[in-house]
């Protein structure tokens, strides 16, 4: 398996390993390189490897994070969460929700509303 004259050196005489901070310091890594490393890691991996289960939100439920955070009164709501809440209030001209349906239907005749609600189309369109 292992080769060399004294391969057991690192296995037997090993003391405490260096911390990440000590490794970086002894390698002469500067502030700019460290900042670059943090940015690059954040870009390819938004969450730290070990933090997946430590944030209390679970690993595979990113969409729920916003609502849970809001209900707990912590953190900022995510964009889509804000949009959905506002649309339900009917306070915006969002593309979905009851407010839009009401606005659109107001322009239609009674027959058109009935037809669109039942999902039928006129024979002329076919």
């Amino acid at each position: 398996m292992a080769s060399g004259l004294n391969t057991s050196y690192f296995k037997e005489n090993r003391g405490h390993p260096l911390s990440a901070e000590e490794i970086v310091r002894s390698a002469g890594v500067g502030k700019s390189e460290r900042a670059l490393a943090v940015l690059a890691l954040a870009a390819v991996r938004p969450e730290p490897v070990g933090a997946a289960f430590s944030n209390g939100y679970g690993k595979h439920k990113p969409a729920q994070r916003g609502s849970k955070a809001i209900s707990r009164g912590e953190g900022e709501p995510v964009a889509h969460e804000t949009e959905r809440k506002l649309a339900l209030d009917g306070s915006t001209n969002s593309r979905n929700g009851p407010a839009r349906r009401k606005r659109v239907n107001a322009k239609k005749s009674f027959k058109e509303v009935k037809r669109s609600a039942s999902g039928k189309r006129s024979s002329a369109r076919r």
Binding site: M1, S3, Y9, F10, A27, L36, A37, L41
Partner: protein, 203 residues
Amino acid sequence: MKTNGPTRVFINCPFDEKYVPQFVALLSTIICSGYRPTCVLELPAAKQRLQRIRNLIADSGASFHDLSRVEGARFNMPFEAGLAFAHSASTSAHSIFFMESKRFRLQKTLSDLNGFDPLIHNGNVSGMVHRVLDALSPEQNRPSAKTVIRISRVVLAAIRRLLRTNELDELFSTRGFKVAVAVASQAAADARIIARIARAQSR
């Protein structure tokens, strides 16, 4: 508590594009094991380069020599392997590990080393991580190979991103090596992998 011996690990490997994933895996595994990787890339092109390479090897507690690049190889790698071998023969404070991607090939390419079993990494990241962990870490308190492989993939993605966005000019340069060490150390720190090993060893 201080370590008992030198904590640097010297890397002697090919510096080409095809070797990048394995280089990153080697670097990440050394860092995840709690050691500081060192390499000739750290030396600026200057006079007395050879003496400084000898000093780097002498300051290291172990060295890895990947002799898998047979075709189109330069002679730097076998030469540095020879320097490290001479150093390890004169002291008990240096472990030397030869690596190959194929079984029995080192017996043909470097028959002087018959009798030494090289670490066979099969030319892939998983093989590299397992073999380096075998060499560096004791059976107990060994970081999980699965975690180290995951970390090395994240580190590789981060470095590729830096190269793509021109934040980094070249990986195999003085600055490239420092950035790679910074990225791998940060990833290991985020995974709290080194701290876990240290805690287990202090028990």
